[in-house]
């Protein structure tokens, strides 16, 4: 497998010792959505030379997804994945630069500092609100449940 897993850990140095509150998490999520959109927007413009007309395109585009980890408020984690098993090898024609690494470097530089600043500002705004510290429970194990599709 050669999937993409790009991780950015943002140390907010706020020492809040709790998970992010709902409104703080919404700020984080809004930035995650922006970052994912930026990655997906950059992951376009492929030439598909030699591919038959009508064949499926943008296959790996569909495989991008992202998650956020807001359980420890001081250090939040953003994860961006691409589940296509060739995505980490993809490069532009005539270039040896791995495309996801190029995109991720640009996205991290442009989007992570405002994310950290907005999140820090939101946390500071909420510092006086009373919140109980939460602990993670024990982890169990089971199989993934796959449901029938909802049809619209």
């Amino acid at each position: 497998m050669a999937t993409v897993e790009a991780i950015s850990t943002v140390d907010l140095t706020t020492n809040i010792q709790r998970r992010l509150s709902d409104c703080e998490r919404r700020v984080f999520r809004r930035h995650k959505d922006r970052i994912l959109l930026a990655v997906k927007t950059a992951w376009t413009g492929w030439l598909y030379i030699g591919r038959p007309a009508g064949a499926q395109q943008n296959v790996s585009f569909k495989e991008w997804y992202g998650t956020i980890e807001s359980t420890v408020g001081d250090k939040v984690v953003l994860r961006i994945f691409n589940a296509a098993d060739y995505s980490s090898f993809v490069h532009r024609s005539g270039s040896t630069v791995i495309e996801w690494q190029r995109i991720w470097a640009e996205v991290e530089a442009a989007f992570i500092p405002p994310l950290a600043a907005d999140l820090r500002a939101e946390i500071i705004k909420n510092l006086s609100a009373p919140v109980n510290p939460k602990k993670l429970g024990p982890k169990g194990g089971s199989t993934t449940i796959r449901r029938e599709a909802i049809s619209l």
Binding site: D33, G54, Q57, I68, T71, T143, L152
Partner: protein
């Protein structure tokens, strides 16, 4: 562990095939519209999800369907997400209904304005893609026409 819940926009697949005259895969513009609404729907699910530590809520994600049909899969890879129930209801072990089995169909329904907007937007973008595709052969023919010596 966790769960996967596919959402298929069958009506959009039918609409696209009818407009095009045959099956065709989604174009990039269509994928981008679908992607935007899938993110919005996922956010609505997250907002309605009960929270203690936020571990299971943080484990939500979605990917677009890769089988050529229109839709997306909502997934949660938290290893106890499928056991979460409404507060003060029977546990899943004792025969209770997992929350995701009621919450997701409730949000992903035609009664949700976001879903209605998604279906409308998908039809609109299908129309614009079809207009582009139908004008593309004419434009290509114009480009191929020999010039000069008129």
């Amino acid at each position: 562990m966790g769960f996967e819940y596919p959402v298929r926009l069958d009506s959009i697949d039918t609409y696209r095939s009818t407009r095009h005259g045959s099956f065709r895969f989604l174009e990039l513009e269509e994928l981008q519209v679908l992607d935007r609404y899938a993110a919005e729907i996922l956010n609505e699910i997250e907002d309605a999800w009960p929270v203690d530590t936020s571990t299971s809520r943080d484990s939500f994600s979605y990917t677009l369907l890769s089988d050529g049909t229109t839709g997306f899969t909502i997934q949660n890879d938290c290893d106890y997400a499928e056991y979460i129930t409404e507060a003060d209801t029977t546990t899943v072990r004792d025969g209770g209904t997992p929350l995701f089995d009621t919450l997701i169909p409730q949000i992903v329904s035609k009664g949700n304005p976001t879903v209605v907007a998604m279906l409308d937007a998908m039809r609109t973008v299908t129309d614009s893609v079809e207009a582009r595709l139908s004008s593309a052969p004419a434009a290509a023919a114009r480009a191929r026409r020999p010039r000069g010596n008129r």
